[in-house]
Symmetry: C2
Subunit: 331 residues, 2 copies
């Protein structure tokens, strides 16, 4: 675990400056203080903060998602949340969760038992036990990529799938593609449903036909491509929109294996912009989710819920990141 | 992004003249200043957002909405925004706006000229000139009850209409009503569209028929009731959902004038919970928009946009407020 000295070395400042930053002393600038706090969080520094206000504890529950290394999807989400929370003197625990754990332990009980004032839930699936319990939880809860109706204590945060998929389809359309396929993520996911709807309405708005033989739902893994890409190619697809970057990676590999060049024969576009996407062969054109901002916003929303401001839904803008896996359709 | 030097080159004037124009110095002509501002906007010049500590000025532009006395719809929205902004050392100007003003003055130019770092727009209509300009504004802008696609500088904030209308319809359904009418607000409004969709899907989810003779769109005023309530009554409505509280007031008066008692013969439910709703005869059951919280959140979102966190959409939860204008359906 990082010490104050480690942070000082990283930032090239004195130990006492770091100390001031961590303790919110008034004689260093707000900018420097934030840099100290951000670096402390990033380096895994943990403090005992049992000052006047005890129990300033929040929790991130995380399931089905990797977050521990910088190239994993959850890393920046967790980091952004912690950076903002730390700035406001909250401690944050990170608790990886399994379905078994959810079956054994009730959400509200666990929260109470551990003295958490609120939680951020990341990576949960629609059929999870805790998702059902969120319908009437009294705990301030921000939920990534899932929506709970009619409970003022729960807010949904995510990236605007509708706009994101719209950007992908429009990008391909402008490049001359008409036979656009969609390899979506898994069935039991709210965002997969949204992206499906977004794909179909984007195609319709552009006057393109919605072809069942050019649409499939697999899982959010590379392997998904094996089962569906051959059919897309046989049906004459010239471009494939993918539910996330991992799927896109599998799609590109499957295309190449079957003698199709990316992007010359087939354009491929991902979703998320995980850090590895730029290193794919070719570097992946994708729709970026600003994950650090998602984490930061999740904290802001959770803080609002704690103060009884019942936000129902917050969506961030996606961004089109153009790299080399898409190109103009020839002929 | 254009610099002051770029603007100076384009206009063939010195950098210090451009600087004076941008900062509103008194020793250049109004005409030259306007030219500097227009060119700055045209070239995409944007003031550096986060670091300025002078010029901490935000603006609320307000149209089609009263806000000056405590019983008016806009009062708490404006108050909440100002409360949060003042807490963070921002000055807030409130500028009432007309369509004529929008035709004469460009949004970005006006913002730049007055040194505003961001704005909150309330009460604008879909066909307003500034709404069109928001599609490519570079100014951090939060927009109440309207959505601008694909511009990362603009965020939509409002109350979840879908959940609100769902609460109203479900409340009436539980009271035994089946012939539920909907008198919606004006045609050229995004929230009216959302509420229409919400009404129809709520009815469908409950297995109730969507009857064109029990739906109408008027305006957000009491008078609206005169034209549509007689038809609803003739068609056998036992309950009427209204687009806002003013419409509900007109509906209740119209019912009574035609010999129907509220709520014994007809249940009526409003939307908004303006402060007068509790004083209506009978006191109005309605769907509350938490307007002070909307204003507070609008500030939080605007502050995020200023710091380049592109929030696209934020919705707050509505609340069902049960008073005396709805009751169980007899017989």
């Amino acid at each position: 675990m990082a010490t104050i000295k480690d942070i000082a070395n990283r930032l090239g400042v004195s130990v006492s400056t770091v100390s001031k930053g961590l303790n919110g002393a008034s004689d260093i600038s707000e900018e420097l203080r934030q840099m100290v706090l951000d670096t402390a969080v990033e380096m895994g520094y943990a403090t005992k903060r049992s000052k006047k206000t005890e129990n300033r504890k929040l929790c991130i529950f995380i399931e089905n998602m990797n977050y521990e290394s910088i190239d994993e999807f959850g890393y920046d989400i967790v980091l952004g949340f912690k950076q903002n929370a730390f700035r406001h003197n909250w401690d944050v625990d990170i608790v990886p969760i399994t379905p078994t754990f959810q079956a054994e332990e009730k959400y509200d009980t666990y929260m109470l038992k551990n003295g958490y004032c609120g939680a951020f839930l990341v990576g949960f699936a629609l059929h999870d036990e805790w998702m059902r319990q969120l319908e009437d939880t009294t705990m301030p809860t921000v939920l990534f990529d899932n929506f709970i109706a009619n409970n003022p204590n729960v807010c949904y945060i995510g990236t605007d799938s509708y706009e994101g998929i719209g950007m992908a389809v429009n990008h391909l359309f402008k490049l001359g593609h008409r036979d656009i396929a969609f390899l979506n993520g898994s069935l039991y996911s709210m965002v997969s449903d949204q992206r499906q709807e977004a794909f179909e309405s984007s195609m319709t708005e552009l006057g393109l036909e919605i072809r069942p033989d050019l649409m499939a739902r697999g899982y959010y893994v590379s392997d998904s491509a094996k089962y569906h890409v051959p059919g897309f190619l046989a049906a004459g697809a010239t471009a494939i929109v993918c539910g996330n970057d991992l799927i896109a990676k599998g799609v590109m590999e499957e295309c190449v294996q079957r003698g199709f060049r990316v992007p010359e024969d087939i354009s491929v576009i991902g979703f998320d912009d995980i850090s590895l996407a730029a290193t794919y062969n070719p570097p992946l054109t994708t729709i970026r989710q600003e994950r650090n901002e998602l984490g930061k916003c999740a904290y802001v929303i959770l803080n609002s819920l704690i103060h009884h401001i019942s936000i129902s839904k917050t969506l961030l803008r996606p961004k089109l990141i153009e790299r080399e896996s898409t190109t103009r359709r020839e002929g």
